[in-house]
């Protein structure tokens, strides 16, 4: 009988075993190693690190393996691990101007100091399934020169020299919000918005950015610059008083340049949208830069009219761990509340039937 579903514990244990079996798949096929995922599924690893808010390629690869390739589940696993970690220090802001770039492109200039560097991109591949990969073909030799050490001035700095783009406030000593420690509060400042977007679901941020391009918010974006490569992470422990480098991380940075028609007090100029992701998550960084600019509507004195401009709407719905949980919790038992609804609907129907019968009688 259903009523006494005793043995829930046993059912859960058995479900876990089944899950492990499904994860492994056909035992005749060699098991995937974490190292293989890390090396060969590297863009999945990048996405999991970005939205999981933890730069650790090994753990992200492990999470992907454990999650059977479900990236949102892998992000959740990484996040749940991250919350248990102690905080030793806060790093200095990373300096992407000093990046050892493996990719650097600007859509706003044909050429620029430091040059355009295509790097490992899908952009100009023809999307034809490569059946040679099925036969585990060898990769061709790389024919590029190693990344140069030439400094790469930012496109936005070039514009800044002419006063054509808004000044960026760069107070490195100001406290930075952290929504993993403090709940979201409104109005949200840009640091908080950027953190939220960086952790946000790639699909959601992409769709929001896309909507802003299609007329639900009009930001007239240009991809001023996209760069990807390695940057140093530096901490300055209080007790030491000097800076130490704790390692390099790969990041992708996108700076969008947007029109601003000016206001009564301000001359027309360009404004910025900023995106940053771990690894090579370029689609995410670009979408983030679009949504960042859209959400600056309020601070730029423009009218908030569209979803991508509405910070309360965007920031509350970016997080795929929250969204996935709340959507999927609907499969937990709700039969107590449903019983309440059944009783209610039956009563309402009975009352209506009564009233109708009454009216019919009165009409006779």
């Amino acid at each position: 009988m259903y009523v006494a579903v005793k043995g829930g514990e046993k059912a859960i244990e058995n479900a876990h075993r089944l899950l492990a079996q499904e994860r492994r798949g056909n035992p005749g096929v060699p098991e995937l190693t974490v190292a293989q995922i890390k090396e060969q599924m590297s863009l999945a690893v990048d996405r999991v690190m970005t939205e999981g808010s933890l730069y650790d390629r090994d753990l992200a690869a492990l999470a992907i393996k454990q999650a059977r390739g479900d990236l949102v589940e892998a992000i959740f696993l990484l996040r749940a691990f991250r919350t248990t970690l102690p905080r030793f220090a806060t790093s200095k802001p990373i300096d992407t101007t000093a990046m050892k770039a493996r990719r650097r492109i600007s859509a706003t200039y044909k050429d620029l100091p430091g040059g355009q560097l295509l790097g490992p991109t899908f952009d100009y591949t023809h999307r034809l399934l490569d059946f040679a990969l099925m036969a585990e073909g060898e990769t061709p030799e790389v024919a590029t020169s190693p990344s140069s050490d030439e400094a790469l001035p930012r496109v936005t700095s070039l514009l800044n020299a002419e006063g054509l783009i808004e000044q960026e406030n760069s107070d490195d000593t100001a406290p930075v919000s952290d929504l993993t420690r403090e709940p979201l509060d409104f109005p949200a400042n840009r640091d908080l918005r950027l953190q939220n977007l960086a952790r946000g679901d790639e699909g959601f941020v992409l769709a929001m950015g896309y909507s802003s391009q299609r007329g639900y918010g009009n930001t007239h974006p240009f991809a001023g610059e996209i760069r990807m490569g390695e940057v140093e992470v530096i901490i300055e422990p209080e007790e030491l008083g000097f800076a130490i480098s704790i390692g390099d991380i790969t990041v992708t940075e996108c700076e969008m340049i947007n029109q601003f028609k000016g206001s009564a007090t301000e001359a027309p100029k360009f404004t910025r949208g900023y995106g940053l992701s771990f690894g090579e998550a370029e689609r995410k960084a670009m979408a983030m830069a679009l949504v960042d600019r859209s959400m600056r509507t309020r601070e730029l004195g423009e009218e908030v009219q569209n979803p991508a401009q509405d910070e309360e709407f965007v920031l509350y719905h970016t997080d795929n761990v929250e969204a996935s949980g709340f959507v999927q919790h609907l499969k937990l038992p709700h039969y107590v509340d449903f019983q309440g609804e059944l009783e209610m609907v039956r009563n309402l129907r009975a009352e209506q039937a009564n009233t109708q019968a009454h009216m019919l009688k009165a009409g006779e």
Binding site: V5, G8, Q328, V336, L348
Partner: protein, 288 residues
């Protein structure tokens, strides 16, 4: 559990949660924002309740976890096991034995007593949310005690249906001040919240809010003089223990319209059967 602190959360986090709880107790019904953490269980599974429980649980506590009133629903089993693993405290299915009860969607039938704590899992803490989606607006409305739109909503129900058409998560006013969502318990349970000797704590993990009802606090379900608040009633009694006044679950027996009604509170039902109360389909032993 190796490698993890007592009750999973680190002590700093627990302190932050306790501070939020203290504030919540000091301002009954007010939603206190807190730095909700990512838990190893998904949002929507009770992460708020779990964090509140982790914040208050001690080595001598005896924990009971229910979902839909039952101790043996899968999620209740999972959460109970989580705390058994991370704290080693004694767990129970007996309402009377528990010092700490975490619940989803029900309040136990047996009245709670002083010294007990009831922790509710809350999906959406804001009672005005479906009338006003913006948090910035609803916080203002609470500050100004501006609850007119809720009364209008209830009035519209009466105009349209002849009655208030809310059967669960029925809004209450706590201590004559804050409008509060009691979490999705059936309105049948609302009267139990009023003047309850036990401390009631509410945790909403995804929405990052904690609120509370201190012991012996007035909790009033919203109504009108000519449409007083009413709770659900059934024509049937519990098929197992014969109870006439407990909340009943409807169990579909076949596809011919056959159904039976049984207590949703499994401990209540089993205790009654052990005391010799039997319904038409009941046996003295708890069903295995």
């Amino acid at each position: 559990m190796d490698g993890y602190n007592f009750a999973y959360l680190d002590e700093q986090t627990k302190r932050m949660i306790r501070r939020a709880i203290l504030k919540a107790v000091a301002i009954p019904g007010y939603q206190v924002p807190f730095g909700s953490r990512e838990m190893p269980l998904p949002y929507g599974w009770g992460t708020g309740g779990i964090q509140v429980t982790a914040g208050v649980i001690g080595q001598d506590d005896v924990l009971k976890v229910i979902d839909q009133g039952a101790d043996d629903t899968t999620n209740a089993v999972s959460i109970r096991r989580f705390f058994a693993r991370t704290t080693g405290v004694k767990t129970t299915e007996k309402t009377t034995e528990a010092t700490l009860i975490q619940t989803r969607h029900r309040i136990p039938e047996r009245p709670l007593s002083e010294g007990q704590i009831l922790v509710y899992q809350v999906p959406i803490p804001e009672p005005l949310r479906w009338l006003e989606p913006r948090e910035t607006e609803t916080r203002k409305m609470h500050a100004l005690q501006e609850y007119g739109i809720m009364h209008v909503k209830l009035y519209e129900d009466i105009a349209r249906f002849g009655r208030i058409a809310t059967s669960y998560d029925y809004p209450v006013v706590v201590n004559d001040r804050y409008l509060m969502k009691p979490s999705p318990i059936p309105k049948f349970d609302n009267p139990k919240m009023d003047n309850m000797p036990a401390l009631q704590l509410f945790g909403a993990g995804r929405e990052k809010r904690i609120y509370a009802i201190p012991p012996y606090t007035k909790v009033k379900s919203l109504d009108f003089d000519d449409h007083p608040f009413e709770i659900q009633q059934w024509d049937e009694n519990c098929a197992l223990c014969g109870s006439e006044n407990s909340y009943l679950d409807e169990v579909v027996m076949d596809d011919q319209g056959g159904r039976m009604f049984v207590c949703s509170d499994t401990d209540h039902c089993e205790s009654r059967r052990a005391d010799g109360h039997l319904g038409p389909m009941g046996t003295q032993q708890a069903a295995e």
